[in-house]
């Protein structure tokens, strides 16, 4: 390949990465706003999040098209190939995270109309802020190509799970105490579950960083503890 073609190809890769980061920014914003809509019962905000999800889908399709075109025309190898494939994978991850955010916003619409108001939205908001922060860190690490920062995100996904379990228990207790709240609490349960899934996606994003740079994976012996796999210790009410 001539010098000119090489430089142009490098530009295309940078452009692709730029589009992924841009999509990441939108996904981040969707998550934060969806959580906020739940916390402050903002119907208008929730509706805007639902509508904006279409933009995320469009961005995902664009990135997919660009990536496939790049592979077809340039036939990249090694790191260039990983970066192209990485961009494609990330676009899918971000689109799914955005879907969860849209789902949260839809539930915010329902919860906002619920009466009586449930005081548990504070806990959900806290978990939401934690997840939004994790997503931001993962995207920052990807944007900078910072493997250490990515590892830091990858290492600590358990605390989001802990928040989820705690929140789940809280909601159950609340529902048992006042059956009138079961409807709204059920929606909050889904919101919490969606947040947990978004947290998992943040970890996926972090995993892409070493993959793109060197083809490696984070591989500490990290037992992924899950309440589903282990026998319950004295209580069986985790999902």
């Amino acid at each position: 390949m001539t010098e000119h073609t090489l430089k142009f190809f490098g530009e295309e890769l940078e452009q692709l990465k730029g589009e992924v980061i841009r999509m990441g920014g939108l996904a981040e914003s969707q998550v934060s706003q969806a959580v906020r809509a739940v916390a402050v019962r903002d119907v208008g905000l929730a509706e805007r999040v639902v509508v904006e999800d279409e933009t995320l889908d469009l961005l995902q399709h664009d990135i997919e098209r660009s990536a496939i075109r790049l592979i077809a025309l340039r036939q990249p190898v090694a790191q260039d190939l990983r970066r192209t494939v990485g961009a494609l994978k990330l676009s899918l991850v971000l689109e799914r995270a955005g879907d969860y955010a849209k789902n949260i916003a839809k539930r915010a619409l329902v919860i906002a109309q619920a009466d009586p108001e449930i005081p548990l939205t504070r806990s959900v908001q806290r978990m939401g802020e934690l997840v939004a922060g994790r997503l931001k860190e993962a995207l920052d690490a990807y944007s900078a190509g910072d493997i250490q920062a990515a590892r830091s995100v990858w290492n600590r996904d358990e605390d989001i799970d802990e928040h989820y379990n705690s929140l789940f228990r809280e909601l159950l207790t609340y529902m048992m105490g006042d059956p009138h709240t079961i409807g709204a609490c059920a929606h909050l349960l889904f919101v919490a579950k969606n947040l947990e899934r978004i947290g998992d996606y943040a970890t996926s994003i972090a995993e892409m960083v070493p993959y793109e740079v060197s083809g490696d994976e984070f591989s500490d012996p990290r037992p992924k503890w899950s309440s589903v796999e282990e026998p319950s210790k004295g209580n069986g009410d985790f999902p």
Binding site: G18, I21, S29, E137, A144, L167, P223, K233
Partner: protein, 417 residues
């Protein structure tokens, strides 16, 4: 269109007719230095072709921008530095149509800042250019929020003790009017409720003050060993009263220096020790261990964490330090042999007014704000906070504070921060 004035210009040439050679280079470098020194973050962005077809690049940024946005020298695409969709839209619009915009956004993360952004077209060059100005408005926003929070919390939490006092006033006016024994008893209760309200207000004010400056990192140096010794000395009467003992394992003074504000760190140690003493059974020892040059372990798959989980408890990181993989810390571990905390209660420990269900706090109930204060102070210090506990196995809180850089001379006194 406003034109930047050059009062030293001798001819009446328009800006377009000026060339670099005819402008006084000293003045130019002065202007550049002025932009560099501005407290607001300044970005000059440019695109080579139509927006959407060619990337938007940052061709100049001042020091404030590099700090706020953590700009690395290699990156020049705007999207690598700022990816918020509203800001990108505004910049694109300014580049394409020359319209000015202003908007606000939150940077997010544990040290979220409220930033106001302005975009302005720059019509100086042949390429599409724009100016982006970012101003940190966190102070003003926080002040507003703190005031609102304080009022909400105060009115909510003071209601109960106030109702109690009012009730007893009624009783003293009525039934207990002529009963000196009952009078003495009720007056004692009223006095204790009043004390409780006073402590609550103190703690709420404390928390407000801390949150107000939480985004401003501390700059002084603190000798942790001396600080902890001072706090434990102050607690001796309480320890005696409860028949509890304190074991301190620490390096010599001057060996454990952390970046921080002394009063705030004292409060952290005080609050954690108060809890340890309060919730520990009579006669049980409370131990404090100080270590230097510790690394932050995020790996909660450590053997003891698994063991804690088996016992119905766990190890939970309540606060992750910033850039943990780059820093070393002074570590303070406070362990009590109390009744311990179950796993599902761990995430909520630092929540305001949260009390673990079923746990008795003894004769003197706390304000419920102790751990919230600890968390906000540690967060301000960019430190870490970990809890390890299991029912029946006691509780250990670990505080990590960034170590002071080696070149600092050890002194027990913080420089004013």
């Amino acid at each position: 269109m406003a034109v930047l004035s050059f009062p030293w210009k001798r001819g009446a040439r328009s800006p377009q007719q000026e060339t670099l050679a005819s402008v006084d280079l000293d003045r130019l470098s002065l202007l550049t230095a002025a932009i560099q020194a501005l407290p607001d973050a300044i970005l000059i962005v440019q695109t080579e072709g139509p927006v959407g077809n060619s990337p938007i690049r940052v061709i100049a940024s001042n020091g404030a921008a590099q700090e706020l946005l953590r700009i690395r020298s290699e990156e020049d695409r705007l999207v690598s530095i700022l990816r918020h969709p509203d800001i990108l839209s505004a910049v694109e619009n300014t580049l394409s149509f020359g319209e000015s915009h202003t908007l606000g956004y939150d940077t997010g993360g544990s040290q979220s800042r409220a930033v106001r952004v302005w975009t302005r077209p720059l019509l100086a060059e042949s390429r599409l250019s724009a100016l982006v100005v970012l101003r940190d408005e966190t102070d003003a926003r926080r002040l507003e929020r703190m005031r609102a929070d304080f009022l909400a919390n105060a009115s909510h939490e003071l209601r109960t003790p106030l109702a109690s006092i009012t009730g007893f006033v009624e009783t003293l006016r009525g039934h207990a009017k002529d009963d000196p024994e009952a009078r003495a008893h009720f007056l004692e209760i009223m006095a204790s409720q009043a004390r409780r309200m006073s402590h609550l207000i103190d703690d709420l004010l404390s928390l407000s003050r801390i949150e107000l400056n939480e985004h401003v990192p501390p700059s002084g140096t603190c000798d942790i060993v001396l600080l902890v010794q001072e706090v434990t000395d102050g607690l001796l009467p309480v320890l005696e009263a409860r028949g509890a003992s304190l074991e301190l394992l620490a390096p010599s003074p001057g060996a454990a220096l952390a970046v921080g504000e002394r009063d705030q760190i004292s409060q952290v140690v005080q609050n954690l020790l108060d809890n340890a003493i309060k919730y520990a059974p009579r006669g049980a020892p409370v131990s404090i261990t100080i270590t230097t040059d510790a690394a932050f372990e995020a790996d909660s798959a450590a053997a003891n964490a698994a063991a804690l989980r088996d016992a119905g408890g766990g190890r939970l990181v309540l606060l992750f330090p910033e850039r943990a993989h780059e820093n070393r810390y002074v570590q303070i571990r406070i362990t009590d042999a109390g009744i311990g905390i179950a796993r599902e209660n761990l995430p909520r420990l630092t929540e305001r007014f949260y009390r673990v269900p079923g746990q008795k706090s003894g004769d003197i109930p706390g304000t419920g704000l102790g751990l919230a204060i600890v968390k906000h102070v540690v967060n301000r210090h960019r430190g870490g906070l970990v809890v390890e506990s299991a029912p029946g196995q006691g509780t250990t809180f670990t505080v990590l504070l960034p170590s002071a850089p080696r070149s600092e001379s050890p002194d027990g006194i913080t420089k004013p921060s």
